[in-house]
């Protein structure tokens, strides 16, 4: 059904060639792909570190690497995955590509700033990469003082500079998204007709803009302390090492919402399209995103329950941490209710959506454990916390990211991926993931501390299970790498709307033309209105 005319059509990919046309592009779609390449590289780098960690942990006394190297491995795993993969991931790839299209715009508000954002990520990444190659950094991704400022003999400053620069990438993307959503919506695209993916990225952008500068100034202080010994975190000079923890977590807690809110936005899209129904409780889901963004700034002290923070502060933070759990729960219930009397497809993106809802439910519910003061005293700094955040970041965000990638792949590339291989990969990833991380909950409650190179022998069985899961997971992640690249050349040509979806982005050809829309669309329908999208309709339910 692809006509010859369509095959020779000019789209954003073929309208210009050459490296300059990519490195100097102002097109949000190309910038999205530039980001895709960059973060994929960092994902595999972080994954390589993870592989080494899990292999080392097969035996209680290790032996593959020294303690010093092990400490660098978990640090660099965290730095690469958080700052150079997860934080940019969905907003900078899928958000960059589709946010303008979803609101009917030709591009973001500030295309050149968008390109600058990408360059900042790359430059920051090069600093971090340099640090890794020159000898590594061993402070943990959390850089607690005074270890990071006075005692560590590793490449702290180079890594910190890399993160500092990458932080500005994040800030500028957030700024761009906020202005775009406020000022570039097509006529008729009111706030409550926006796809929920837009709402999520908007809420995320608010966090990026307000939280990241605090991380930046914290890094400046660490730099000054390490370089000039000003004393701000050094107790011998009257400074307070715990002040660092407050400053650090003031950003780093909202940061986890930067990582998960866009994922939730993807899931809203997938659950709707593949049930062919409006998301149940659209307004509640939209407002939940905003609530999470606001409440997320009020709970940072739950990382400091045993840090000598006051008991009363601990109680306030625990109380507020339960508040922030509620909007996420509301979303899960609404997604589930969307399925009721829907028309449910098992296409790969939907499988990832199912995986997300299940794993995010578990990860989120274990958040209730660590929010509880009495339990957290026991499980903080153990593998329980490691399992908790990996359930959300990997079982949650990465699954949503892969689901979104599969969903929008036809639109971005004009090609279909191979459906059977994709479903198989989703299954492999789901199983591998659970085998890797579920044993870690048990390890944690049993008392296995995190960041331990060697451990008592009674923990070995659970570690072996976890490593076995990691090897399955690794295979699962390699499969899409391979077939996505394969599909660029051999995949079936994709129609404009392979899924019967309703958003504005599906009203353009696959791949879209340079300016997205030949004329600015005028919006008259609510979001997720599938009437008129499917040929002859049969009413169900």
């Amino acid at each position: 059904m692809i006509t010859a005319a369509e095959q020779t059509r000019v789209d954003y990919l073929n309208e210009s060639y050459g490296i300059k046309s990519w490195l100097l592009t102002k097109d949000h779609k190309r910038i999205g792909l530039l980001y895709l390449a960059t973060i994929t590289l960092f994902f595999f780098l972080g994954g390589a570190f993870a592989t080494l960690i899990r292999v080392e942990l097969l035996t209680p006394q290790g032996g593959l690497v020294s303690s010093e190297t092990y400490n660098k491995l978990f640090t660099m795993h965290g730095v690469a995955m958080i700052f150079f993969f997860l934080i940019p991931s969905i907003p900078a790839t899928l958000g960059n590509f589709f946010l303008p299209m979803m609101i009917g715009a030709r591009d973001l508000a500030f295309p050149r700033i968008n390109l600058l954002s990408w360059y900042l990520l790359v430059i920051g990444g090069l600093f971090a990469l340099f640090a890794m190659l020159a000898g590594g950094v061993d402070t943990g991704w959390t850089f607690y003082t005074p270890y990071s400022t006075t005692y560590s003999n590793s490449w702290v400053i180079a890594t910190a500079v890399g993160i500092f620069i990458a932080g500005f990438s994040s800030i500028l993307t957030g700024l761009n998204f906020i202005v775009t959503v406020h000022r570039m919506r097509a006529p008729g695209m009111t706030w409550f007709r926006l796809p929920l993916f837009v709402w999520s990225n908007y809420a995320t952008a608010l966090i990026q803009v307000l939280g990241t500068p605090v991380l930046a100034v914290t890094i400046v202080l660490v730099f000054c302390e390490r370089f000039f010994h000003i004393g701000i975190f050094d107790p011998a000079l009257g400074g307070d090492p715990v002040l660092f923890q407050h400053l650090f977590w003031f950003y780093s807690h909202p940061a986890v919402y930067i990582m998960v809110l866009p994922a939730m936005g993807v899931i809203s899209e997938l659950v709707s399209v593949f049930s062919r129904k409006q998301v149940f409780g659209y307004h509640f889901v939209a407002f939940s995103s905003m609530a999470i963004a606001v409440l997320g700034f009020l709970v940072w002290g739950h990382h400091l329950f045993v840090s000598t923070q006051s008991v009363y502060a601990g109680m306030v933070f625990s109380f507020l941490s339960y508040f922030v759990a509620i909007p996420s729960a509301i979303k899960v219930f609404n997604w589930t209710a969307t399925l009721y009397k829907g028309s449910i497809s098992y296409a790969t993106p939907m499988l990832y959506a199912f995986g997300f809802v299940g794993l995010f439910t578990i990860g989120g519910l274990t958040g209730l454990f660590v929010a509880s003061l009495g339990i957290d005293v026991h499980v903080t700094d153990t593998y329980f916390v490691v399992a908790h955040f990996h359930y959300i970041m990997v079982g949650g965000t990465i699954m949503a990211y892969l689901g979104g990638l599969h969903y929008w792949w036809p639109k971005m590339t004009g090609r279909m991926y191979p459906e059977l291989w994709a479903r198989l990969s989703a299954l492999v990833i789901f199983l591998g993931f659970n085998l890797t991380f579920f044993p870690q909950f048990i390890l944690g409650y049993l008392g296995m501390p995190r960041r331990y190179h060697n451990y008592p022998p009674e923990f070995q069985v659970l570690h072996v299970l976890s490593t076995a899961g990691a090897s399955v997971l690794a295979v699962g992640y390699l499969m899409p790498m391979i077939y996505f690249i394969w599909s660029l050349r051999y995949g079936k040509l994709a129609p404009a709307n392979p899924w019967g979806a309703s958003g504005l982005e599906w009203k353009t050809p696959s791949p879209p033309p340079l300016h997205n829309f030949d004329e600015t669309p005028v919006v008259t329908q609510e979001a997720y209105d599938y009437s008129g999208v499917i040929g002859e309709e049969i009413e169900v339910g």
Binding site: G140, Y282, K341, V357, T361, L368, Y445
Partner: protein, 318 residues
């Protein structure tokens, strides 16, 4: 209630409390997980797409449901909060008659000192059946004192004292871990807590006695560092008397009072000009660099011994 598999031994009065809270959380978690998984599975099968041209009825949500699934989770979380906060609050209030042990963490070992002067490295022997209070500090970076069997954990921070307490409920040998990443040999900063029958503990304490109690060692240090030149027992020197100081309220120059707890004593030795006692001049030199953290603890114990026992509410620093 007994302990489920996949939990550590319960060896303190806190352990069953924490585990009961865990069971409650597990029950709620399992319930909602099964509910969500079950609903998704059921809907996904029952409403699977049978034709490409299906168009379900649009439904827009229902206020009643939204309120229901907001209020019920909120109620449950408030129970979790209150329960957890209660345990935490009790963990922050050591009983007045707790046995005092001092802990100094350093890269990469735990140094523990009993009041009677007995010192241990990476091992802590304690008697069964009475509350034990640890007053801790670090010589270098942040560490954390973690005993899984007791369900207790507390960061050990340079520049200040932190306190944790527990009451052991069974004899045995229990893991001690450092739980805050502290550098190269973080995973080797481990040891054991040995809980003994009171009689065995008393024997252990007597054997290999070094002779001097912590307070006695502190008294000697007090002389060696010439503290006694100014801090005279009869209050005739240029400096405040230390008799009956510990636990009292101290009036400060410039207004305000402060409780003379362990943290205050430590600060007075290492940063004497941070707080000046009303009616005195800022003439005390600092002993930073001249005395180790262990030395400070010995001096603190000595000064405590100059106050009548038991000190009013030994509720410790932080």
């Amino acid at each position: 209630m007994g302990r489920l598999p996949f939990t550590p031994e319960q060896a303190s009065t806190f352990a069953p409390d924490v585990d009961h809270l865990l069971y409650f959380l597990l029950a709620v978690t399992v319930f909602f997980t099964l509910l969500i998984f079950g609903a998704i599975f059921y809907f996904a099968v029952r409403y699977r797409r049978r034709s490409e041209r299906e168009l379900p009825h649009a439904s827009h949500g229902g206020m009643a449901l939204e309120i229901l699934w907001t209020v019920i989770p909120f109620g449950l979380t408030m129970v979790m909060f209150t329960w957890g906060a209660d345990i935490f609050f009790r963990e922050s209030r050591p009983p007045a008659d707790a046995m005092q042990i001092y802990v100094v963490g350093k890269q990469w070992m735990w140094k523990l000192e009993h009041m009677e002067g007995k010192r241990e490295i990476n091992e802590l022997h304690i008697p069964l059946g009475r509350p034990i209070k640890l007053t801790m500090t670090s010589e270098d970076v942040i560490h954390s004192f973690f005993v899984p069997a007791f369900r207790t954990k507390q960061d050990v921070v340079p520049g200040k004292y932190s306190v944790t307490w527990f009451q052991p409920t069974k004899t045995g040998k229990f893991h001690l871990f450092c739980a805050e990443y502290c550098g190269t040999n973080h995973s080797h900063m481990i040891g054991y807590v040995y809980v003994m029958d009171p009689a065995d503990y008393a024997n252990w304490l007597r054997g290999n006695q070094t002779g001097a109690s912590l307070a006695d060692t502190g008294a000697k240090l007090f002389q060696d560092l010439a503290c006694s030149n100014c801090h005279k027992a009869d209050n005739s020197g240029r400096c405040p008397s230390l008799t009956n100081l510990f636990g009292s309220a101290v009036k400060l120059a410039g207004g305000g009072t402060v409780k003379a707890d362990e943290g205050y004593l430590r600060e007075s030795i290492l940063q004497p000009n941070a707080k000046i006692v009303a009616g005195y001049q800022a003439v005390m030199p600092t002993f930073q660099g001249l005395v180790t953290e262990e030395g400070v603890l010995q001096l603190v114990e000595y000064i405590k011994s100059l106050a009548p026992q038991p000190a009013a509410a030994a509720g410790g620093a932080h």
